[in-house]
């Protein structure tokens, strides 16, 4: 399968650099502002874009992303509206991969078949569903692969050698290595630990490896970019958006400005990483 994700990672390999994967929540702090941010991400330096779809009970997320989800739900976002934002994005940008990230229940209630049809139709490339391990592949993973969408799997530090092959089967697009046992927004892993984990994964898969959880600064992103194929930044970006809210929690221009400024800085960090390492 050569979709946008594959083409993007191939291009990155060609350039000899790692990619930057961003996560922002659709509907945070309101639907239009979240779109204004989404629209600017690629130009600011995001190579792959994860769009968050909120759930009332995000059991793998820390306080920052929990709050983003609550703001988004209050703003009236739904899976349907998130897909509509993806469609708008795709009309402007036909190359940047777009991956929807969320929890299973809203997709289950939307209807798996309907979701996959609509996802393809709006130009989504794949999905990351936090609470669907390989044990539940029959639910969404296999139907998604059959439909031609990527199902990006999370691999954790607790995923042992015996389990890795099962986790990597039916994974496509890229592998998302969670560098710590923890929730989003926690402190990150050391470079040495990340390096070891990435080496271990490379022995099992030829897929690109993105590393996330705990990356907050351009320096940290650069460190990850030296060893992995991409660095994923979520909570730090969501915090930047949150910092731009006015006293009543309303959006201001600073939400978008803060977010895109951070993405620019992260993008520079990621782009410079291997050059520095080489020189």
């Amino acid at each position: 399968m050569t979709g946008r994700i594959e083409r993007r990672f191939a291009a990155l390999a060609e350039e000899g650099r790692a990619g930057l994967v961003t996560f922002t929540m659709m509907g945070d702090p309101d639907i239009e502002t979240s779109y204004a941010i989404l629209e600017g991400l690629a130009e600011a330096g995001a190579d792959v874009i994860e769009i968050g779809s909120p759930f009332t009970d995000p059991m793998a997320d820390g306080p920052v992303i929990q709050r983003a989800g609550q703001r988004a739900l209050r703003a009236g976002i739904t899976l349907e509206k998130s897909l509509a934002l993806a469609r708008r994005f795709r009309a402007q940008d036909d190359t940047t991969p777009l991956v929807l990230m969320g929890y299973y229940n809203p997709i289950y209630i939307y209807g798996v078949e309907r979701f996959l049809n609509d996802a393809l139709e709006v130009g989504l490339d794949g999905m990351i569903v936090v609470d669907l391990p390989p044990e539940e592949d029959a639910e969404l993973c296999r139907p998604a692969l059959d439909a031609g969408l990527s199902f990006v799997r999370l691999v954790a530090p607790t995923t042992d050698e015996a389990r890795l092959p099962a986790v990597l089967t039916n994974t496509s697009g890229f592998v998302y290595y969670i560098s710590i046992t923890g929730i989003t927004g926690a402190a990150g892993a050391t470079t040495a630990a990340t390096q070891m984990a990435v080496d271990r994964l490379r022995r099992h898969t030829a897929l690109p490896i993105a590393v996330g959880f705990g990356i907050k600064t351009p320096d940290q992103a650069a460190e990850v970019a030296r060893v992995a194929d991409a660095a994923v930044v979520g909570s730090a970006l969501v915090s930047a958006i949150e910092d731009g809210l006015d006293v009543d929690g309303g959006a201001t221009a600073a939400c978008r400005d803060n977010a895109l400024a951070l993405v620019r800085a992260l993008g520079k960090g990621v782009r410079a990483a291997r050059q520095e390492a080489a020189s």
Partner: protein, 403 residues
Amino acid sequence: MSARGANRPGPDAEGHFGIYGGRYVAETLMPLILDLETAYEQAKDDPAFTEEFERLLSHYVGRPSPLYHAERLSEHLGGARIYFKRDELNHTGAHKINNCIGQILLARRMGKIRIIAETGAGQHGVATATVCALFGLPCTVYMGETDIERQQPNVFRMKLLGAEVVPVDSGSRTLKDAMNEALRDWVTNVETTFYLIGTVAGPHPYPAMVRDFQSVIGRETREQIMAAEGRLPDTLVACVGGGSNAIGLFHPFLDEDGVRMVGVEAAGHGVESGKHAASLTAGSPGVLHGNRTYLLQDEHGQIIEAHSISAGLDYPGIGPEHAWLRDSGRVNYVAITDDQALDAFHLCARMEGILPALEPAHALAHVVELAPGLPNDHILVMNMCGRGDKDIFTVADTMGASL
């Protein structure tokens, strides 16, 4: 009796009861959940494990709990012969401790050095803090801020027992949010920590494991009713929050066609008001906290906050085996309002000298509806799964009394 008939097939190897159950958790937790399953399967077959479980149940918890013929209440209602299975007499005052003894033994066997739990009414928190004190393990209990306010006595008890009580201020600040927070802790501290879930919910193997530990209630009831009446009961009634006391009573009887079973959910202000916790009566299937089951949710799959005067029933889901038993029709599920439960609470206090917890007061309110229409030789067993000491502040509040 251990042979499984058509009504007790589950779960399958993947932890499913029909379409319900399963393991919908983050990858970080998955390896541990598989370890837990293996450890539990081994423990179950180890006579030493069973022996220690039973020893602690008799000498520490005080089992068997009596099966008591509530004669005055039976006479007052004028119908069925009503028995109470008196799990409120257990150490710590509810059925929750049965499961905690089983899980703490398993935690020790697995070499875990830290215990976490969620709690609603605080009964499971107290029971967990108790077994942690007994086994010398540090204990952290997550509890919603709303529940902390309405279950003050239990919060203090947990602290006296050496547990750390962490207030949870997200979402509805009740049991569901406490469970989210406990899962977050577990994802973070997965190597050292054992998550001691308090009901038949969560990912496989919890629903089956907690059920097995609580089934002591039904096994004892079977023996005791045979001794008292020479036959099996006609009807079993139990309240359902997550469903552990109910499945504990029901499970050993599920293959007995002659035994009717009723699970009683919390209708809060009334099912039509939208402020209730009746997921089987008014919910629909969805995925939350590691399993597929009936949930209170909107048309977008977002979870709706539950409401009940009883903190232990204030949960928008239900154990997956109950979801399956509802669909199969083997168990009937009904809903009782806050007001009905309060009336039953007062009735029981005056008529039997027992202050029931507000959770089994829901079961009792259904017994009050049901019993008068039944013949005098109809044997009805209700699970008196907790005592009401913890609820006196809530009840005082409804009476305008201040303590």
